[in-house]
Amino acid sequence: MAAPEQHRLVFRHIDEPGYSNDLACYLRNGGYEVLRKAVKRKPEELVDEVKKSGLRGRGGAGFPCGVKWSLLDRKSGKPVYLIVNADESEPGTFKDRYIIYRDPHQLIEGIMITCFANRVERTFIYIRGEFPDGAKILERAIAEARAENFVGPNILGSGYGCEIYIHRGAGAYICGEETGLIESLEGKRPYPRIKPPYFPAVLGLYQCPTIVNNVETICHVKHIADMGGEAFSKIGTPNNTGTRIFCVSGHVRRPGYYEFDVGKLTMGQLLNEVCGGPLPGRKFKAVIPGGTSAKVLKFGERYKGRRKVGAEMVEYDWGVEDIPMDFDSLAMVGSMGGSGGVIVMDDSVSMVEALGNINAFYSHESCGQCTPCREGSLWMKRITARMVHGDARPEDGALLKSVADQIAGRTICAFGEACAWPTQSFVAKFGDEFKSYARERGGPESGAAPELV
């Protein structure tokens, strides 16, 4: 079956010739009409629409957005905050940057609808420090929107008011973790908080109830408010509704961003048809489906089991190419949908060196608060660096796995899993390469290994 067409819902205007990121262009294309309608409705209705839509977070965890909103503590009387997570730091992910740079008003409209639905009066966009132009673009867009009363004390004459503040980060992946982000926003070191008791929905920013949502998720909220939750829920697959933007990078002929209905195309269709397949003379070796925090999938593996399709339990027997690109299927085969960053590696890649690169990233980004991640991520990086720089031992693969097993599940935040899963999955699936790296020194394409951070 041929791959479906892209469904450019959030990315409709990205790469559209003549489309610019100013308000006039957005208004010409029907912008802020959804907001106009939304502020005439009851906030609870909008929350219901999002619940019905089945929208799942697009930042990495895939947590149902409507459920997250309904966990907000409304009893304490404290102000409710929305934080837009524009920290996009998951390696392999580059979708939010285009929304911010090319279609910022879609984000702002989505933010205002979200705020109205949750009775938020102050919202913050936490944008990664590496997007200085993006911050400027957003500030200009907010100023434009405020001038037209799409943002500010009296939105479209509704009596409801909400202000947006931009806060720039300064180069830390851990600021993408929701409680790390909150700490950073409060001006402190981004040490994630222990949960319990510091669930953001109860004790978030300034110890007030807070929602943290990804940029793409908030853009979907706009579309849900537009078409209705039920219509949205019919896009994609049950429990994996709507569209999502896949960021494909690595060894394919046409890397880039592609938006599809969730679960309506397989990995093989995405990589081979949409992205043109492997580079000339090469074969696919491995793919990481959801940003480097997700477990790697090895081409040639089979995944068997039973899953629910409709009302029935159906057997599945998949190769990597057959996996439908949705949250549940990817979780079933032992990986995750994550942030949608699909990183493709072909047979020119030494998995030991690839893991070395990944470990260098995580050890550099570990905040250092809790023992297993802080010490374990650096240890794993030192092992792979030592291997790559010529001093590998056959047992290093087993040692890496043992160290990673001591990190996952024992840390304050999910960074522990994020730094442990790559190591665990690489060693589990490509264990032979790790064992023989010492002998073969450098893998298929020997040569000087690049200096790792």
């Binding site: 050890s363 297993p372 040692l399 001591q406 024992r410």
Partner: protein
């Protein structure tokens, strides 16, 4: 398991044993009550929970109930209600007790968690044990022996960080040893209210430092050394001086103020090496002021009196008390007692006063209280003088009335028990007009002007009790023998009292207490030995109207003193 009748107690099950603890107790404390040790680093009972060391991971579970009917789900194997064990371990320090909570600390998962954390802490830890002060009282040593894997798999290079940074005048930091538990950071922020410490850099290169331009120099800086589980924060005074397992520990009291912080004096072969706080949840928690720690240096400070002198010539105790009796005319003697004397010494001072027909004055020392453990009254035992009846009003800082009496010739002899009369306002000519008998530890203008000088002991060299601002009577014990030439204060006072015609009294604390309990109304129900290490609260009501100088400090509210405090 059934929940106890009291609503504020919750029963939890740890390793198969039930224990009922107050609401809000965390699992580490609940386990401690059962004698189960849950190893930890960053948790401290007196600081907020950080949860970052991950050493206290335990398995938790809740009693299984049917979600629809709420009926208990039974386990056919045991016949008891099933426990749903949560696969992900939880940190015990941040888990508050809940009805039905079950905890396991001896499973393979928990053992693996502990070995894992231990291994991670040791991989970048320098091999400093042979030169590290913390050896012998190091949590890393203890817990790696108790819960660690026992061998190393780490063959990479270790982190290099600054090794001997003075953070301030009294604390030296070795960054490589730091396990980033953040106890010191939280202590400075929450207890000392001096937010001066923080981490810089990221990940495994995180380094403890003072904020730029600041120094760790508050009066509680050495508490960070006490609570540091490893040898990262060290006392500059104690560094490299002595191995802790060679030191004797003696319970004592900080005499820097009427807060009366409980201490431990560490000594060996007659020398004191350091003073650390002793836990007393009603007085000082686990803290003490730096200013109280350095008091041990007075033992061998310059000017320590070392020989009994009569008119400048060396003498012996019997001659000295006889000479004193000769120069103290009954009815024209003043006794200057001290707020730094113990209760027993003040009792004997009162006997001396009675025998001499003299009035006693004390000298007050009032400063600014810091709201924590240095109270406004820098005398540790003014209340002991009130309780024993040595004085019946609060002392003033200057002995003006005595000065006037000297000028008018009313007083021709003065016994000063540990107080420098010149510092209290008497002039040199006034000192020259009277015959002075001085009992004290260090040379000063009074000892120079005195005709009889009997050197006595510092608080470290004798035993006794002191009454703190809470009217709590607390014991201190002799840690080191007195310096050569010094006489025990009780012996000197007892002999002096007898020499001037007063009763013959015991100079030993315990027999003396039989007299004290018999004669002092406030201490009637007290006997010395059973006073607990945390002290005994006396009834301060008879003195409630006096204008005490102290403001609020840790565990002390001046107004609600009688009403609010819990009795131990």
């Amino acid at each position: 398991m059934t929940q106890p009748a009291t609503k504020d107690l919750i029963t939890v099950n740890i390793d198969g044993r039930d224990v009922a603890v107050p609401r809000g107790t965390n699992v580490i404390e609940a386990a401690r009550r059962l004698g189960i040790d849950v190893p930890h680093y960053c948790y401290h009972p007196k600081l907020t929970v950080a949860g970052n060391c991950r050493m206290c991971l335990v398995e938790t579970g809740m009693l299984a109930v049917d979600p629809a009917t709420k009926a208990p789900v039974m386990d056919p194997a045991t016949g008891k209600q099933r426990v749903n064990w949560i696969p992900r371990p939880a940190i015990a320090c941040a888990t508050s007790v809940m009805p039905g909570l079950h905890v396991r600390t001896t499973t393979p998962l928990v053992r693996d968690c502990r070995e894992g954390v231990m291994e991670f802490l040791l991989i970048n830890h320098p091999l400093d044990c042979p030169i590290c002060d913390q050896a012998g009282e190091c949590k890393l040593q203890e817990q790696s022996a108790g819960y660690g894997r026992g061998y190393s798999r780490y063959i990479e290079h270790k982190n290099v960080k600054p090794k001997r940074t003075p953070l301030g005048p009294r604390v030296t930091l070795d960054d490589e040893r730091c396990i980033l538990c953040s106890r010191c950071v939280r202590f400075c922020k929450e207890i000392a209210k001096d937010d001066v410490l923080g981490f810089t850099d990221r990940g495994s290169y995180s380094t403890l430092a003072c904020y730029p331009g600041r120094k760790l120099e508050n009066d509680y800086s050495l508490n960070t050394v006490d609570i540091c589980p490893v040898g990262a924060l060290t006392s500059t005074d104690f560094r490299f001086k002595m191995r802790v397992w060679f030191l004797n520990q003696t319970n004592s009291i900080d005499t820097g103020s009427s807060a009366g912080a409980n201490t431990v004096v560490w000594s060996r072969e007659g020398a004191v090496y350091r003073v650390t706080p002793r836990q007393n949840d009603w007085v000082n928690d686990t803290w003490m002021a730096d200013s109280g720690r350095i008091l041990y240096k007075e033992i061998r400070a310059q000017g320590r009196l070392g020989s009994i002198r009569v008119n400048g010539a060396e003498s012996a105790l019997d001659f000295a008390v006889k000479a004193a009796a000769d120069i103290l005319p009954r009815g024209r003697v003043a006794v200057v007692g001290s707020g730094r004397s113990s209760v027993e010494e003040q009792f004997l001072s009162k006997k001396l006063c009675d025998a001499l027909g003299a009035r006693a004055s004390l000298v007050s020392r009032v400063g600014k209280g810091d709201g924590l453990l240095v109270s406004a009254d820098r005398n540790p035992n003014v209340r002991g003088a009130l309780v024993t009846g040595l004085i019946d009003a609060l002392p003033s800082a200057r002995l003006d009335r005595l000065g006037a009496q000297i000028d008018s010739g009313q007083v021709t002899g003065v016994v000063s028990i540990g107080e420098d009369l010149a510092a209290a306002g008497l002039s040199a000519s006034q000192l020259a007009r009277v015959s002075i008998v001085y009992l004290g530890t260090h040379a000063n203008a009074t000892s120079a002007a005195a005709r009889v000088v009997i050197p006595t002991l510092t608080v470290f060299e004798k035993s006794g009790t002191l009454v703190n601002q809470q009217f709590r009577i607390q014991k201190f014990h002799k840690a080191v023998p007195g310096v050569a030439g010094a006489t025990d204060d009780l012996l000197a006072l007892a002999r002096l009292t007898a020499a001037v015609g007063g009763p013959v009294l015991s100079a030993e604390v315990e027999p003396l207490w039989e007299r004290i309990a018999a004669e002092v109304p406030a201490l009637g129900a007290v006997s010395f030995a059973p006073i607990p290490d945390t002290g005994l609260l006396l009834d301060g009501a008879p003195w409630a109207g006096l204008p005490f100088a102290e403001g609020p400090s840790l565990h002390f509210e001046p107004a609600a003193r009688a009403a609010g405090e819990a009795r131990p």
